[in-house]
Amino acid sequence: MPWLKKLVGALVILGGVGAVAGWVLSAPVRLDSETLAKLGPGDPARGKRIFYAGGCTSCHAKPGSQGDARLQLVGGLELKTPFGTFVPPNISQDPKDGIGAWSTEDLANAMLKGISPSGEHLYPAFPYASYARMKPADIADLYAFLKTLPAVAGKAPANSLRFPFNIRRGIGLWKLLYLSDQPVVPFPDGTPDPVMAGRYLVEGPGHCGECHTPRDFAGGTKKNAWLAGAVAAEGSGVVSNITSGKGGIGDWSEADIVNYLETGFTPAFDSVGGAMVDVQRNMAELAPEDRAAIAAYLKAIPPHPNGYPPRKKPAS
């Protein structure tokens, strides 16, 4: 049956081409020299703002720690997701167990491109899909601030992921689909400055969309339901709709949002809960104008109905 031979041959060739293409396409791509040139010297005082806007401690502090212990970035939190369990690593200044030996360029490649100093893809549980929108100079400032924090020895346990998610090279294809430095919500020229500043904080360092936006089957955020709330990616329950759509925060004023970010109380005096508790404590460390900018942006984005299914009320 010569036609079968031909078919098999064609499939083998196609498969080979596919494998080569997949391998080439999934290769880690580092930052170009033009971007690296924009890093600049870095200023720790400015970096402190980026540190809290970025919420580094929420995942990298020892789980359950309070106060100054939140600045000991030893990692170890377990993020249980459908892909498996991710464990944020030690990013303290320890040169062996942490990132004390990293250069500014290393941090920039990790945060903007999701690539480790050894050239491996990092898992997007580290929210570089958001950090990719950050200004290089802010990364350099953050680097300078991280240098002021303590070195703490001790490696966090490794991730424990299911096949095929345990193959790092596959992340390269994911990046082709979802990694972009472009803003999510377009605004026309003449949009007020606070809205634009809020966009940067929310879509970039704040990485709000990572939890507040539902994801598609491949784990990318659905831009057509941006910040509409989602079934929690790790743990249980749902994450709130923070647009002005049905089920969201349309009845909150900008002052209500600012107050929530500062004090943790909703307009009805319910309190912040779940993973948002650490986020709110980080937001409380920002300057008032940063919280106001976040509020201005949230009031300016397109409204969406809840990005998660309604609660099934138990039969009574």
Binding site: G264, F269, G274, R311
Partner: protein
């Protein structure tokens, strides 16, 4: 007379039935708590003038509310299912849950005992009290749709 006794016992029964649902009980208690916190918060945010006597009354109401929080009665085993946002963690770690509540009550008691004489003192005390809200809800509540 007999009718009256029956009427009263029926009323009592109805009342106890109405309050026999620990999920509704604890929700009512938290709602009341939020209301009192909202009242004090107006003073803390300088939206209302500081009145030492009025503030103390509110802090005492907050304390009374916290003292009514009996975890054993409000979170009996089996009350983790139904129309509730209480996290399973409560029943996995009842001691931890009670410890957070105890700290909350202790912080309120410290404030009422000190009876804040100015708004800055109140701000410090209120900040300590309010931080417990998030600490508890971080672990022991699950947001549902």
């Amino acid at each position: 007379m007999r009718k009256l006794v029956i009427a009263i016992s029926m009323l009592a029964l109805a009342a106890s039935a109405a309050f026999a649902d620990p999920i509704l009980d604890r929700q009512a208690l938290m709602k009341e708590r939020g209301k009192i916190v909202g009242g004090i918060s107006k003073v803390v945010k300088d939206e209302e003038p500081f009145d030492a006597a009025a503030v103390l009354t509110q802090l005492q109401a907050l304390q009374a509310n916290a003292e009514k929080f009996d975890a054993d009665a409000l979170f009996p085993s089996g009350s983790d299912t139904g129309d509730t946002t209480a996290a399973p963690k409560i029943w996995e770690d009842m001691a931890g849950f009670k410890a957070v509540e105890d700290k909350y009550l202790a912080d309120i008691k410290a404030a009422t005992a000190a009876a804040p004489a100015d708004v800055d003192t109140l701000k410090t005390q209120f900040g300590a009290i309010a931080s417990n809200c998030g600490t508890c809800h971080q672990t022991y509540r699950v947001k549902k749709g």
